[in-house]
Symmetry: C2
Subunit: 414 residues, 2 copies
């Protein structure tokens, strides 16, 4: 029986034309976070399941991890998120690392969820983390980076919103409402505040706290504390509008203080695109002194939806500059190697008729075509064709690199 050609359910094959968008997204992420002095790290995709049991949250660990036992009896999971991993790495070199420590990673994460638009079981994320700063400079830097990324993608301030809250403030309000359950359980309900009807929410809340009405009035129209107000003011001075959202909780158990998220203002996609917050305690779980820490993560599929929705996807073309079509059996390898000094060059050795070779170049999205045969080799004059415009010109071999390069400089591709 023939093998199945489909990719794993909820995961994606990226053919070159698909990968171009992902590479564009990654390149913008990398460019912006590096502007802020962040350095890239990487880590194994497998981690002991324990590091997620500690603080990631019940739903992800018990229902969504890809976990299994390896051939040596180790219980491992494919990372559903990066925060526990980067905390482990920082803990392992707690004393040697220099703070403030700015780290980022771009890579795959896995969660067994129901696949839907913008959500995959295998997805890619940018994780940005800042270790060792207690002051709100850290919060403001995070918000500024997220904002700069969206602007660098071409978004206008009206295309997205930023909202902020404080877990500390939420915890205080929960404490004064007389909790009858674990705080994490109450936070987890608040995290669903926007998804439930007011009636449903209130009914559930009544089971978890003594005086639900005091907590409700905060969630509906509470005021920020001093720290959050300072963050909103400092962002404003940098030209970034940030709103206070008293019902914003974010899902992870490890958040300890300020949390924030970015959302799409397009009514057809009005949901949180990504977010983050302070998680000052996580590094300390690895047996070393805790470090003030803040971070956020941004997924590739969410951003791709945002770019498509706001018509911000640039025209992305092949990395191959030039396609060489051959007429007749001739040896062009040395000559083509000269062109490769400046250009990315694919040679069509198929021996097919010229029109088939040109069609292949066109299908691949390669813009420039060069035809080489005995005549061209003799005369030293080559026909260079722009497949996008249809224009042709005769040129010497030495000119080809600069003609194509100066044309490339005018395009936006990454």
């Amino acid at each position: 029986m023939a093998l199945n050609t489909q990719p794993y359910k909820g995961a994606r094959d990226f053919y070159p034309e698909d990968l171009r968008l992902r590479k564009y997204i990654f390149s913008v992420w990398r460019e912006v976070v590096q502007k802020f002095g962040y350095e890239e790290y990487d880590a194994p995709v497998m981690e002991p399941i324990e590091i997620y049991k500690a603080k990631t949250g019940q739903e992800i660990v018990s229902e969504q991890t890809y976990s299994f036992t390896d051939r040596g009896g180790r219980e491992v999971a494919l990372r559903p998120e990066m925060t526990p991993t980067v905390s482990r790495m920082v803990a392992a070199k707690r004393q040697e690392l220099a703070y403030p420590l700015r780290l980022f990673n771009i890579g795959a994460r896995w969660r067994y969820e129901r696949p839907q638009k913008g959500r995959y079981r295998e997805f890619y994320q940018l994780d940005v983390d800042l270790f060792g700063l207690e002051s709100i400079n850290a919060e403001v830097e995070m918000i500024q980076i997220a904002d700069t990324i969206l602007k660098r993608f071409g978004a206008k301030p009206s295309d997205y919103g930023i909202r902020v809250n404080s877990r500390k403030l939420l915890n205080e309000k929960i404490a004064s409402a007389g909790p009858k359950a674990e705080v994490n359980e109450i936070i987890s309900l608040i995290d669903h505040y926007d998804k439930l009807s007011t009636g449903e929410f209130q009914a559930k809340l009544a089971g978890l706290v003594e005086t639900p009405e005091t907590l409700m009035s905060f969630l509906e129209a509470g005021e920020p504390n001093g720290e959050v107000s300072k963050i909103i003011d400092a962002s404003q001075k940098l030209g970034i509008e940030v709103g206070f959202a008293p019902s914003l909780a974010r899902g992870f158990d490890y958040y300890t203080d300020v949390v924030f998220e970015m959302f799409d203002t397009d009514p057809s996609n009005n949901r949180a695109m990504f977010g983050g917050g302070r998680y000052d305690g996580l590094v300390g779980l690895f047996g070393v002194q805790a470090i003030p820490t803040i971070g956020f993560a941004m997924g590739d599929a969410m951003i791709a939806e945002f770019l498509k929705g706001h018509k911000l996807v640039p025209k992305l073309v092949s990395e191959t500059d030039l396609y060489v079509a051959l007429t007749g059996e001739i040896d062009v390898d040395k000559l083509v190697n000269e062109l490769r000094q400046n250009l990315n060059v694919a040679v069509d050795y198929s021996g097919r008729k010229l029109d088939k070779q040109i069609k292949a170049a066109d299908k691949k999205g390669i813009k420039w075509l060069l035809v080489i045969g005995e005549n061209e080799l003799e005369s030293g004059q080559f026909k260079l064709k722009n497949l996008a415009s249809g224009e042709e010109k005769l040129t010497s071999l030495e000119q080809i690199g600069s003609i194509i390069k100066s044309d490339n400089d005018g395009t936006a591709n990454q």
Copy 2:
């Protein structure tokens, strides 16, 4: 109990200073294969275990795969290699794709092997594949790419060797020696020719073929067939020395014709670094017409060992251009954003003494330091320090970008 800070056994944490070498290796790989018109693709890390059972080889599938059953009952494996995946992808779009089709991927693979120098359970590979060319242009292009990569890393031709053989030729010799076992089993023994003593090898061979001496004489001193000779000649014309190796088999079951490998000539590391070959039948296993195909794969750890052994690792520095140290509580965010137009800039908001801030910059491997305090803001003159040379100069803010950029242009970093 505290959580363990160690990475998964046989896998690696890449702190920024570790990742720089891997990124350098990836950037050279990408640069060279793109010169030859190859385009990048990617795919899920999980595949149905069946696609490896078909042709990857018994040892990898039954002893080395990371395989498990997902929450939906699917039997999957973390890919131990990329060839079955790329074959699946090409089969899925057999009719739409334009040939010759040149594809590459750089990513992680997983094999449960005993970790040792240059071998990890999680490792990274470049896979380069060319679909749709029957002629030896394909073989020569593969060899040329591998050779160009090694040279681009700074290797001299004497640092490495290239050898080639033909599975077709081996199969003929096996046929004429009267096989008593599956051809794959005999190939698998030949793959261990260099690792076994002559006595051991001959004893095992005697159990597998009727006339082991005819096969032995070929393995010891056989002659290439016409196709292999042509490949050796064509490579020579491009200035690449390729030797014939009658005992070269390569491990995978799917190779159908020419196989080749690169080895380190350093006596302390005298082993195959990487290799590849023709596997014309693999795409056809997915229920579509077969395509002539050739490819090779190159691992990151092997290359890193080679670069270290031949002293070819370049000096790799931080991506962060400038570290801003602050004296006093001042708001520099707008000013720093100006610098970020041209530079990657990290700000030390810690409020520590200046010498501690400078030490942090130094520890991070950042070359340039800028000190900003009230005085500097008033005078408009800033102290810019080169932490590598110790030189300091007073400069205006506008000059800083060009001073650092012109200095960067002189360094080799990727």
